[in-house]
Amino acid sequence: MNIGLLAQYAVVAVLVAMSTFYTVRKLAPVWVSRRQAAVAALLLKPGRGAFAQRLGRALQPRGATGDCGDGCGTCGSCGPTDATDATDAPDTARNAAGEQPLVFHPPRR
C-alpha cells in the first residue's frame, strides 16, 4: 500500500471516528457526559502524571448545553435543555417546572 493511500485511510478513519462520537454525543448526551466524567475522574486521581492530569481536566464535562437533541432547535422555543438530556437528567438537575431559562446576551454594538 503506498503512502498516499495510507494517508487517505488515516483521514477517513479520523472522520468516521469523529462522526461516531458526534452522533453518540448528540443522541445520548447524558450517557456520554457520564462516561466522560468517569474517564476524567480516573485520569485526575492523585499520583497520575502531568499529561494524564491535563487530559483529565480537558475531559471534565462542562455541563450539558444544546438544542433539541437532533440539532432541530427549529423555533427558538424548544427549551434550553437538550431533549434527550432532559429525559435522562436526574430530577435534582431540573426545577419543578421542568425548564431552565434560556440566556441571551445583547449583540455587540
Binding site: V12, A83, F104
Partner: protein, 613 residues
C-alpha cells in the same frame, strides 16, 4: 465588588408584545407571532442601560389571571408569587399591555398591582392605538393605577426608549393608592372606572378587522378560504422552489465531479464525492422548498389569520376530541413537532393536552419535506391539472392532508376510548390583522435556513459519513461476483431489515435508510443518495431520482411516502413527550400507535397500488 443586576420580569396577557419587547431590549431573536401562546416557558436575557446599569430580564408566558391553571400560565403566577423554585421574586415587574385592548389587559395589571411589588406599565402597540383613534391620558392612567406608565412600540428600533429611561432613573416603587376603593373586589368594574377616567376608545373593535372577519369567519366562505389558502401554499412550494432546487442539485453534481477529478483514487475520494457531495449535497438541494413553505407560514403567523383558522376548525376538532386550543400547537408541529408538543402547555385541561401531544407528531414537519420532494420529483410527473395546478403540488398537499386526517382519526379513537367525555368550549382572543413586516419575515427565514444548515452540517453530515462507511466496508472477498455493496455491512444489515419491511414494498436500500432517519428524517435522503452513489452513480438530486425510479416501483414510492407520513421517526420528539408528560407510558403509546398506523397504511398502500398498476 460588582453591582448585582436588577431583575426585571415582563408580564402581561398573551399576545401583547412581551417577547417583541424582550427581543428589542436584549437583542435576542425569540419567536414572535400574532397569536396567543407563542411563549410557553420563561426566557432570560441581559442588557445594560445607557447609564451602565446591568439588567437581567425575564420574559414570561402570557397570563390572563393568577387564577388560570394552564402549565404556561402557572410559570408566570408562581414566579411572581415567589413560589418558583430557585428564582427570587423580581425586583421590578414590567406589565406589558396592548394599548388597543386595555379593557382586557388592565385586569391582569390590577392583579399584579395587588402584589405590592415595584411595577411599571408599558403601554405597547401605541402606534396601532393611535391609528384607531384611541387616546390614552398617560399621566391620568398612571395616577389611576398608582404606578409609572410608559408608551412602547416593541416593533420599532427606539420603541422602548421611554421604558429604558424609566428603569435608568430608578423611578420605580411599589404601586400606591386606589382611586376606586369601592371596586376593590370587582376587577372588571375597576377597569371600567379607569378606562372612563383615562382612555377614550372611539370604537370597541377595529372596523377593518370586522370587515375582513365577515368573510374569513363566515360559516361557509371561511372554511373555503382556509382550504384555498392552504392549497395554494403547497402549490407554491413546488412551483417556486423547483428551479432553485434543481440548480443547487446540478451545482453539487458538478462540484462532486470536479472533486472526483482532483482527488486520487481511494477511500477519501469516495467519501468526498459519494457522502459529502452526493449525500449531504442532495439534502441541501431541498432548502428552497423549506424556505418557501416557511415564508408562507411566517406570513400567516404575522397576519393574525391563524387564530381565525383555529376558530373555524373548533367544531371539527371538538367532534374528534380536541379543542380549538389544540390548533396552534398542531400548527407549530408543521415546523417541528418539538415546539408543537411544548406548545400544548397553553392547554389547560390535562386530557386535551395529552391528546394534542400524542397527535402532534402526525403533522407533517419540515424534516419530511425533503423526503416527499425527492419521491414526488422521481415518481410523479410534472403535469398541469386544469391548466393551472401542478400535479406534484397536489400530491404534496395530499400528503399534508393525510397527516392531518390521521391525527383527527387518532384523536377520535382516543376520545372513544376514554371515560371522560366532557367538552371544553374554546375561549380564544382574535388579534387584530397586521401586515407582515418584511424584516421580520426575512429574519424568520434566515433563522430557518440557519437551523437547516446546522442540522445539515451536524447530525446529517455525521450520519451520512457513517452510512458511507458501512456501505463501503468491508471490501468484497476475492472472486466475489455480485455488486461490491452486497458484501458491505450495509448490504448485510439491509437484507436483514428487508424481512420486516418487504410486505410494504421496500427494498433493502430503503429499509436501511430508515435507521438514520430515526435521528433526523432528512438523513433518509442522504443515506439513499450515498448508498446509490457508492453502488455506482452520480450524487445529486436528479440522478438519485433517476436511480430511485429505476430501482423502485411507483407502488413502493407511494408506500414509502405513507410510511414517512405516519411513522414515529424522530427520537427528539419522543424525548420531549417524555419530558412534558413525565411518563414513559405516553412515549410507548405514541411510538406504538404511530408505528402500527404507518405499517398498516404502507402495507395497504403498496397492496392497492400494486394491484392497480
Amino acid at each position: 465588588m460588582s453591582e448585582s443586576p436588577l431583575r426585571i420580569a415582563l408580564v402581561g396577557n398573551p399576545n401583547c408584545g412581551k417577547t417583541a419587547l424582550f427581543n428589542l431590549l436584549t437583542g435576542a431573536r425569540q419567536k414572535v407571532a400574532n397569536y396567543a401562546g407563542v411563549t410557553v416557558e420563561r426566557k432570560e436575557g441581559r442588557f445594560v442601560t445607557p447609564s451602565g446599569r446591568k439588567i437581567r430580564l425575564l420574559d414570561l408566558p402570557g397570563a390572563y389571571s393568577f387564577e388560570s391553571s394552564s402549565p404556561d400560565e402557572r410559570i408566570t403566577r408562581d414566579l411572581l408569587l415567589g413560589r418558583y423554585p430557585g428564582e427570587a421574586v423580581p425586583d421590578l415587574v414590567v406589565c406589558v399591555a396592548d394599548a388597543t385592548n386595555l379593557r382586557l389587559h388592565l385586569r391582569f395589571v390590577l392583579e399584579v398591582k395587588r402584589l405590592g411589588r415595584p411595577a411599571v406599565l408599558a403601554l405597547n402597540m401605541m402606534d396601532a392605538a393611535k391609528r384607531r383613534g384611541i387616546v390614552v391620558d398617560v399621566p391620568e392612567l398612571s395616577r389611576q393605577l398608582g404606578m409609572p406608565v410608559v408608551e412602547t412600540v416593541a416593533v420599532q428600533r427606539s420603541g422602548a426608549k421611554a421604558l429604558i429611561d424609566l428603569i435608568d432613573r430608578s423611578e420605580t416603587q411599589a404601586p400606591h393608592g386606589d382611586p376606586h376603593p369601592e371596586n376593590a373586589d370587582d376587577l372588571h368594574a375597576a377597569v371600567r372606572g379607569i378606562l372612563v377616567a383615562a382612555v377614550t376608545i372611539p370604537r370597541a373593535t377595529d372596523a377593518r378587522d370586522d370587515a375582513i372577519d365577515s368573510w374569513t369567519l363566515h360559516p361557509v366562505i371561511g372554511p373555503l378560504i382556509l382550504a384555498v389558502v392552504m392549497f395554494l401554499v403547497f402549490q407554491a412550494v413546488y412551483s417556486l422552489a423547483k428551479p432553485v432546487s434543481d440548480a443547487i442539485g446540478d451545482g453539487f453534481g458538478w462540484l462532486g465531479a470536479q472533486a472526483g477529478a482532483i482527488l486520487p483514487d481511494g477511500p477519501l475520494r469516495s467519501l468526498v464525492t459519494d457522502a459529502l457531495f452526493g449525500g449531504v449535497g442532495t439534502v441541501l438541494g431541498f432548502l428552497p422548498e423549506i424556505l418557501v413553505l416557511f415564508f408562507f407560514i411566517l406570513v400567516l403567523e404575522e397576519s393574525g389569520y391563524l387564530p381565525r383558522a383555529a376558530f373555524l376548525l373548533d367544531r371539527v376538532m371538538l367532534k374528534v376530541g380536541l379543542t380549538g386550543r389544540s390548533f396552534i400547537p398542531l400548527l407549530s408541529s408543521f415546523a417541528c413537532a418539538i415546539p408543537g408538543v411544548m406548545g400544548t402547555r397553553s392547554i389547560t385541561d390535562p386530557r386535551d393536552r395529552l391528546a394534542t401531544m400524542l397527535v402532534a407528531p402526525l403533522m407533517t414537519c419540515s424534516a419530511r419535506l425533503p423526503v416527499y420532494a425527492l419521491l414526488i420529483g422521481a415518481f410523479i410527473p410534472h403535469r398541469a391539472i386544469l391548466g393551472v395546478f401542478n400535479l406534484q403540488g397536489i400530491v404534496l398537499f395530499a400528503l399534508y392532508v393525510a397527516g392531518i386526517a390521521g391525527a383527527m382519526v387518532v384523536a377520535w379513537v382516543m376520545k372513544r376510548l376514554r371515560r371522560d367525555h366532557r367538552e371544553h368550549a374554546l375561549l380564544m382572543e382574535l388579534p387584530s390583522y397586521r401586515l407582515p413586516r418584511p424584516r421580520d419575515i426575512a429574519i424568520g427565514l434566515w433563522e430557518r435556513g440557519a437551523i437547516f444548515l446546522k442540522r445539515l452540517t451536524g447530525i446529517i453530515l455525521a450520519l451520512t459519513v457513517l452510512m458511507w462507511f458501512i456501505s463501503t466496508f468491508p471490501s468484497p472477498p476475492a472472486g466475489a461476483v455480485g455488486p461490491a455493496i452486497d458484501y458491505t455491512f450495509a448490504g448485510y444489515l439491509g437484507r436483514v431489515l428487508q424481512y420486516p419491511f418487504a410486505p410494504l414494498g421496500f427494498n433493502w436500500q430503503i429499509s436501511l435508510s430508515l435507521i438514520p432517519a430515526f435521528a433526523a428524517r432528512e438523513t433518509a435522503v442522504a443515506a439513499l443518495a450515498t448508498v446509490y452513489a457508492v453502488a455506482g452513480g452520480d450524487g445529486d438530486t436528479a440522478s438519485l431520482g433517476y436511480a430511485l425510479a429505476h430501482n423502485f416501483s411507483l407502488a413502493s414510492a407511494l408506500s414509502l411516502m405513507v410510511w414517512f407520513a405516519f411513522a414515529p421517526q424522530c427520537m427528539s420528539t419522543l424525548a420531549v413527550i417524555r419530558r412534558e408528560t413525565r411518563s414513559w407510558r405516553a412515549v410507548v403509546i405514541s411510538f406504538t400507535y404511530m408505528f402500527g398506523i404507518a405499517y398498516v397504511a404502507s402495507f395497504l398502500t403498496w397492496q392497492i397500488a400494486t394491484r392497480l398498476s
